[in-house]
Amino acid sequence: MLLNQFLLLGAFLFATGVYGVVTRRNSVLVLMSVELMLAAVNVNLVAFSASLHSVAGQTFALFVLTIAAAEVGVGLAMILLIYRNLHSSDLDDVDVLKG
């Protein structure tokens, strides 16, 4: 196996995630796209771990998993809060930053 086949897969997942974060209107879907990006990072970490014969990469993949779980929890709480206040989970409605 080539190292690069995993890394390129990761790059593709990451770019897809970016696309999703920018284009999706539903905030839950945006959060899912963020998960895609995190999964891409994890693929890279594990691939490097195998390539370098170092277990540190896997350890960090586990940390990323943990952080991702925390992020989903807080993110969904925020989405619920937005939904409760704006009665919508559509990010186009979240435009209070507009001057």
């Binding site: 970016v18 974060v21 920018v22 945006v30 990010l91 979240v94 435009d95 930053l97 507009k98 001057g99």
Partner: protein
């Protein structure tokens, strides 16, 4: 040696008390205060035991050298020896116990105790004053809406302060340091419903945090100082002091560390120019001001300086005389603090500026090599300043309807509150440095050492400060206790400046007895105990009477630079007392006899300008909020606006029309709404640019995400090409 080896119990007990009060306090018959008082009592006993055993420990070590101590005392009485007795005495190593806190990547970090004279002295001071403040608070805070919470916070504060005091490594010291900062924040904002109180709490937190950046940098550097000297890095304080004195460490890193630590000292110990938080911190309840903002927490900076003194000593080349950063900051603070105390109407603010000024003495003392004198001043100051603060609280509690305004609600109180009056006067005399009260011995020692150590200029500064101290305390006593009673009357004399909370308490507790009266025993007893210390504490190091116990017990004889200890000199002492008396005399003339330049400031333009300058606190607050924050905020806002206007417009072939009106509008928004304005400006600028690219016109979140990712992508392209 039980008490010395188990000194970790001293911080642990208040910590447990904090937990107990927090979880069970509300259900207790006295709202948790009994737990706090009992825990502090236990801690105090342990601290006294440690004190006793340490004295035995030192005396045993000295005993090995025969009657060296008495010979030394004899020699100094003959004024033959202008040098230290410590240099010749047997070294007394501190008692260090440590356990591994955690380890990471091969580095072990410990938590432990380092007990020496300094730590024992601080433990005694902190537990004593904390115990008295606890007792005092049971009366002062009675019927407070957050009574239990208050005692929990007091316990936590005491535990953190003691954790800091016993720390055997700089990392643990940092933990204690941050915790006391947190407790200070909680207690200043105790009545947080009023905006000024929560503002004051925030200001204290953020200002000391500015200095804490220095402490974090300094602590990191201490690790590498030890590594350079021994090859193995460590945060251990003893190792650090040995490393600093070993000569194996370059002067540059020592200087950098000393400057970083000095920033921390400036923040915590209210040194110019970071002192502005301390007067505002008086928004907290008075027992808190006495405990935290006079006696213990604010001296944490001085304590830090004393703890790692070899680093400062070598870094600032203190032994060489002349001027160094530490002495200069301390000296400046002495004068500016004392000057500000003259224009305050709030009795607690007078005391707050006085504290700043006295802290300046301590820092200056450390800066001029008067280590033992500075620490001695810390010791005595803790007692008489706590006495004064609690006295002010007593006046406000029972005499002035919870107001602190001397001009509006006080005056003539000596008839109503004789005990408070007597203790307050004792504290003031001690503060002014009148022989033979506590302040005299410590202040005098700083001045003499400064004079002999090649720091003549700072001795003059100190004398000027002594003069001002005596004068403003006389003014304070006059306004509070003499003249006609100005408070009270049909309207209950509630001062509009007094906070809602204070008025609430006033209504609850004092509706029945409107007139000024003496405070109950829970308040006067601590006052008398502190007054006792204010009179006698100085005699621990009364050189002309051949008593140098304090120096013998407290000064480290292990990993410590050799300092000059000049002998006591009667002429210098006479000079400083005379100067203090002159200060009192002039003030007396001015206030009692109404002679001299009354209303000078309203007749003379120059004096008026000076007074305005003082009343505005040297415009430092304006400097910080308007100029520093404003100048950073404004240009950034303008710059981002400029980027929006010019760069994005140009890129998108945008329209220039209407940009002037938008600019003006945006400018107003930015100017008035600060940080909000930056975001608004971005959105507005983007909206303006969107005139050309209607498809992406937005104020939406995902537009920003798009811009961010585009920026990352473009940047990585750039890096790739550059590579």
């Amino acid at each position: 040696m039980f008490f010395l080896d188990h000194a970790w119990l001293v911080p642990l007990i208040p910590a447990l008390s904090f937990a107990v009060i927090l979880f069970f306090g509300k259900r207790m018959p006295k709202g948790g205060s009994e737990v706090g008082v009992a825990a502090l009592g236990a801690s105090w006993v342990l601290a006294c035991g440690a004190f006793y055993q340490w004295v035995r420990h030192v005396d045993n070590a000295a005993g090995a050298k025969g009657a060296a101590g008495s010979v030394k005392a004899f020699a100094s009485s003959l004024k033959l020896a202008a040098t230290s007795s410590g240099e010749h005495a047997a070294p007394v190593a501190p008692i260090v116990h440590s356990v591994t806190w955690f380890q990471n990547a091969g580095i072990k970090l410990g938590v432990g105790i380092q007990i020496d004279g300094l730590a024992v002295m601080m433990m005694f001071v902190v537990t004593t004053i904390s115990l008295l403040v606890h007792v005092y608070s049971t009366e002062y805070m009675r019927d407070d809406r957050r009574y239990t919470y208050f005692f929990a916070a007091l316990s936590l504060f005491t535990a953190s302060m003691l954790l800091l005091v016993v720390a055997d490594n700089t990392l643990q010291l940092l933990v204690g340091w941050e915790l006391v900062g947190l407790c200070s924040f909680m207690l200043i904002g105790h009545w947080w419903e009023e905006k000024p109180n929560s503002d004051a709490a925030l200001k204290a937190f953020l200002t000391t945090r500015t200095g804490d950046i220095g402490l974090i940098c300094g602590v990191i550097m201490t690790y590498f100082i030890v590594q350079r000297a021994t090859g193995v890095g460590s945060f251990n304080i003893v190792a650090l002091n040995q490393a600093a004195l070993s000569g194996k460490v370059g002067h540059t890193i020592l200087l950098m560390t000393a400057v970083a630590l000095m920033a921390a000292i400036m923040g915590k110990s209210g040194q110019f120019p970071l002192h502005t938080w301390l007067p505002d911190a008086m928004a907290g309840p008075t027992p808190v001001s006495a405990l935290i903002h006079a006696a213990t927490m604010v001296v944490a900076g001085v304590y830090l300086g004393a703890r790692v003194y070899p680093v400062l000593f070598e870094g600032f080349s203190i032994g060489h005389g002349g001027v160094n950063l530490m002495a200069a900051i301390g000296g400046t603070t002495v004068i500016i603090g004392a000057a500000l105390a003259f224009v305050q109407d709030d009795i607690k603010k007078v005391l707050a500026y006085s504290t700043i000024s006295q802290l300046g003495y301590m820092v200056m003392g450390l800066g001029v090599g008067a280590w033992i004198a500075a620490i001695f001043h810390l010791f005595t100051h803790a007692f008489f300043k706590a006495d004064l603060f609690l006295g002010a609280g007593s006046v406000s509690h029972s005499g002035a309807h919870h107001s602190f305004d001397m001009k509006k609600d006080m005056g003539g109180l000596r008839k109503y509150m004789p005990q408070t009056f007597a203790t307050f006067v004792i504290g003031s005399l001690a503060l002014a440095g009148i022989f033979p009260l506590a302040g005299f011995w410590s202040k005098d020692e700083i001045l003499v050492t400064a004079g002999k150590g090649g720091y003549t200029f700072f001795m003059v500064v100190g004398l000027a400060g002594a003069f001002m101290t005596a004068a403003y305390m006389t003014r304070c006593i006059y306004l509070t206790f003499y003249g006609e009673y100005r408070g009270g009357g049909a309207d209950h004399g509630h001062d509009p400046l007094a906070t809602e909370a204070e008025q609430d308490v006033a209504h609850d507790a004092h509706e029945a007895h409107a007139g000024p009266h003496e405070s109950p025993t829970a308040i006067t007893a601590p006052l008398w105990i502190l007054s006792f210390f204010a009179v006698t504490a100085g005699l621990l190091n009364a050189e002309p009477f051949h008593i140098e116990k304090f120096k013998q017990w407290v000064e480290p004889r292990y990993a410590f630079p050799e300092l000059v200890h000049p002998a006591f000199s009667w002429p210098a002492a006479a000079l400083s007392v005379t100067i203090a008396l002159v200060g009192i005399g002039i003030s007396y003339q001015f206030y009692w006899l109404r002679r001299g330049l009354r209303d000078f400031s309203s007749r003379n333009a120059f004096a008026r300008a000076g007074k305005t300058f003082l009343v505005n606190k040297y415009y430092l607050d304006h400097l910080y909020t308007d100029i520093v924050v404003g100048s950073i905020k404004g240009p950034i806002a303008n710059a981002s606006y400029w980027v929006n206007q010019h760069v994005i417009d140009a890129v998108l072939n945008g329209v220039g029309r209407g940009s002037l009106s938008v600019a003006r509008f945006t400018y107003d928004v930015l100017d008035q709404r600060g940080v909000d304005g930056i975001v608004n400006g971005l959105a507005l600028g983007t909206g303006d640019a969107g005139g050309a690219a209607r498809a992406v016109e937005t104020g939406r979140l995902q537009w920003y995400a798009l811009m961010m990712f585009s920026g990352v992508a473009l940047f990585s392209v750039f890096l790739w090409i550059a590579h």
